[in-house]
């Protein structure tokens, strides 16, 4: 006879809604990590997530905690307001690279500068997914998008913004790490980073941002596994993984 142990099942931090993402898009993997982290830290009941604008705009339906939708790029400002009236709530924003690194860059920088005690889940897939694959501030040099049809040209379009490196220079930020979800080992590491960010917030130690290297198989024109491999070969060399700032460990 043998006992049965459940090794993996859908997190209670997720609702029963079917995610609206394209097949194989790693937005879904990142959602699972947010949900699992909040459940494992027993924080789900006091969590309020802020949906942004992008493919994840509908994720107020996907998490089983309270959620608030914010206008494009404004999630860190909405998070600030909610946190200030509900100091014991755990607040996260979930933002793509168009939302955070383009239209919302000011809100993100100033939330960090004020040292707001919130957590930003930043999803870098190097493109505007929802609107059909336009160039983002994070699009790689030479990368073809609908608005850089000969590949991004650094001469006229500049070099991609490295958000984790940038945020780490802001004195008010407590914890900044870049992670990836391209294989089980990295998914595990990514979850560890996210849990640490939520613990820092719970312990009132300040602002955290976790940048996830993610995929957009549809607008990159690749299979889901092909997209994951492309991210490993192209995005991670430009956006190295690791801890960029951790005031709790003296890493600045």
């Amino acid at each position: 006879m043998s006992n049965v142990k459940t090794v993996y099942k859908k997190s209670e931090g997720l609702s029963d809604f079917h995610l609206s993402y394209c097949p194989g898009c790693t937005h879904g993997v990142i959602h699972k990590l947010v949900a699992e982290s909040l459940v494992e830290l027993d924080l789900l009941d006091r969590t309020i997530g802020i949906s942004s604008v992008g493919c994840s705009a509908l994720n107020y339906d996907f998490f089983s905690c309270d959620m608030q939708q914010a206008a494009h790029g404004r999630a860190p400002a909405v998070a600030t307001g909610i946190k200030r009236v509900k100091k014991d709530a755990i607040i996260f924003t979930y933002q793509g690279d168009g939302d955070l690194a383009s239209i919302g860059i000011a809100e993100a920088i100033h939330a960090a500068a004020r040292g707001e005690n919130i957590t930003i889940v930043f999803v870098n897939n190097a493109i505007y997914g929802m609107t059909g694959g336009q160039m983002a501030p994070t699009t790689l040099p030479g990368q073809i998008t609908t608005t850089s049809q000969n590949g991004r040209d650094p001469e006229t379009q500049g070099l991609p913004l490295k958000i984790s490196e940038l945020m780490a220079t802001i004195p008010g930020a407590t914890y900044v790490e870049r992670v990836s979800v391209h294989d089980p080992k990295h998914v595990f590491k990514a979850k560890k980073a996210l849990k640490k960010a939520f613990e820092i917030q719970r312990d009132k130690k300040g602002f955290s941002l976790i940048e996830f290297i993610s995929t957009c198989p549809v607008n990159w024109g690749m299979t889901p596994k092909g997209a994951v491999d492309w991210a490993v070969d192209n995005l991670i060399p430009y956006y190295p993984l690791g801890v960029y700032k951790d005031k709790t460990e003296g890493i600045e």
Partner: protein, 76 residues
């Protein structure tokens, strides 16, 4: 006897095949004979006995389709 098993929530599956590449014993494929409620070609296992219950497929599935159970032998 198999060391573990997976339970596939077929109607949540989007047939993206991402999980398939991560199975260390290569027992996953899409079931080309059918489509699910939403029109996708869902996942299936082709050799249940080989599953080691590692959980890799489930960890990588963006849509929480797969539940993984491990069989633990009781001490005699």
């Amino acid at each position: 006897m198999a060391k573990g098993r997976i339970i596939i929530d077929i109607d949540r599956c989007k047939g993206c095949a991402l999980c398939i590449s991560y199975c260390p014993v290569n027992i996953l494929e899409l079931d080309l004979t059918t489509t699910n409620e939403r029109g996708y070609t869902p996942l299936m296992t082709n050799d249940k006995e080989k599953c080691i219950g590692c959980g890799f497929c489930a960890i990588m599935c963006p849509d929480s389709v797969i539940t993984v159970e491990k069989f633990i032998k009781e001490a005699k």
